[in-house]
Symmetry: C2
């Protein structure tokens, strides 16, 4: 039987990606109103696309004025759930882990790191900002006690899968993975990858394209 009734409005993935960019732009701007044209120009898109994207939201623009920045930003905040507090734990107290704990932006996005774990006895007991590094034995206890929703993995890639398994066994359903490897997880667990090697390939590819363009054009000037 086909499921009848209100199907939730699903936002196309490319649109969702752009909505994230709009969000950042709205946070950064000090204008009170902003037009689709201005948004488009800032991000290298075209205005029709911006308007189309924004039709997935309730906020409407006004002719001759544009969109009210504050309203739009708030609706995006809501879409992304920015205002809800999410408790997270972080596994891996290396350089990257330290960098993340010290990252000042989480507060604005409702992310609270409640504990840091590592399995290196040298690191256990040391402080990162105001958090003591705990041993992995404490993982499940802390997850349950603080109702932790997300685990951040920043361990070397060879132990990432193992850490993921431990997190999942403690009931964690969301993983933010900074290890440069693919994780195998059950269907009901989501993984957001922050894999530096992937964007490294992007960087290298850009260089490669430029190189090829120069080769093709010989010594000719471009533009």
């Amino acid at each position: 039987m086909l499921q009848e009734g209100k199907e939730p409005i699903v936002i196309p993935k490319p649109t969702l990606e752009r909505l994230k960019l709009y969000h950042r732009l709205l946070v950064e701007t000090d204008q009170k109103h902003i037009s689709s044209e201005e948004i488009a120009k800032s991000l290298g898109l075209n205005a029709e696309q911006v308007r189309k994207d924004l039709t997935f939201l309730k906020t409407m623009g006004k002719p001759k004025v544009g969109y009210h920045v504050e309203t739009l930003r708030q609706e995006l905040d809501e879409l992304f759930g920015v205002k809800n507090t999410t408790k997270v734990i972080l596994v891996g107290a290396g350089h990257l882990g330290k960098a993340l704990v010290n990252y000042p932006g989480f507060g604005n996005y409702g992310i609270e790191i409640v504990a840091v774990f590592d399995n290196d006895p040298e690191k256990i007991g040391t402080y990162i900002k105001d958090l003591v590094v705990l041993s992995m034995d404490n993982l499940c206890r802390v997850v349950k006690r603080f109702k932790v929703e997300i685990g951040i993995i920043c361990v070397p890639k060879d132990s990432a899968q193992q850490v993921a398994d431990q997190l999942i066994s403690c009931g964690i359903k969301g993983i933010w993975n900074f290890a440069p490897t693919r994780l195998n997880v059950p269907n009901d667990v989501f993984v957001v990858d922050e894999d530096i090697t992937q964007s490294l390939l992007t960087v290298k590819h850009f260089l490669e394209l430029r190189k090829q363009k120069i080769e093709r054009n010989g010594e000719r000037r471009e533009e």
Copy 2:
């Protein structure tokens, strides 16, 4: 006059994104051959799409066998220019900068960090791994001397634009931006953003979707 002659085969952007995933998979696997089906399953795609993507490459699969992992990986290496050495400098010797300098994976991808800069007198002169932190005065000299192609920005977001401008004024044409802000750059400079706030929104959005799903389903079990 329209330019005649061989136009370079342009790989669609979504395909290119997936090719990066295939690359990682090929690096990780220890199989000698791999089928489109296996690739697809690992990455949650379908086999036809994988095959279609791979038609943009020269490497062909064999019926009953699949694709030769080594060959395919090498062709991807070439596509992304992984084997060419790229000299980069890094600006911002904070936690993140340190984490990056200590990241062991760059070598495999032909990235060599040749210098680290900061404008904090406390940090200038200190060592990160085997690199002395230099003052920004030395920027252009080092860029020219070492033929640096890429600048990595990992300074706080308020100084990111300024650093970008400095890099560009020294002739840098590529920026890998870890600051959570949009950079304004001339057309001939490319920026690859590694903005944690953007993937943070992804994380929050997943949670939000899950929350809404649970609300809709009430106490019903799913699956």
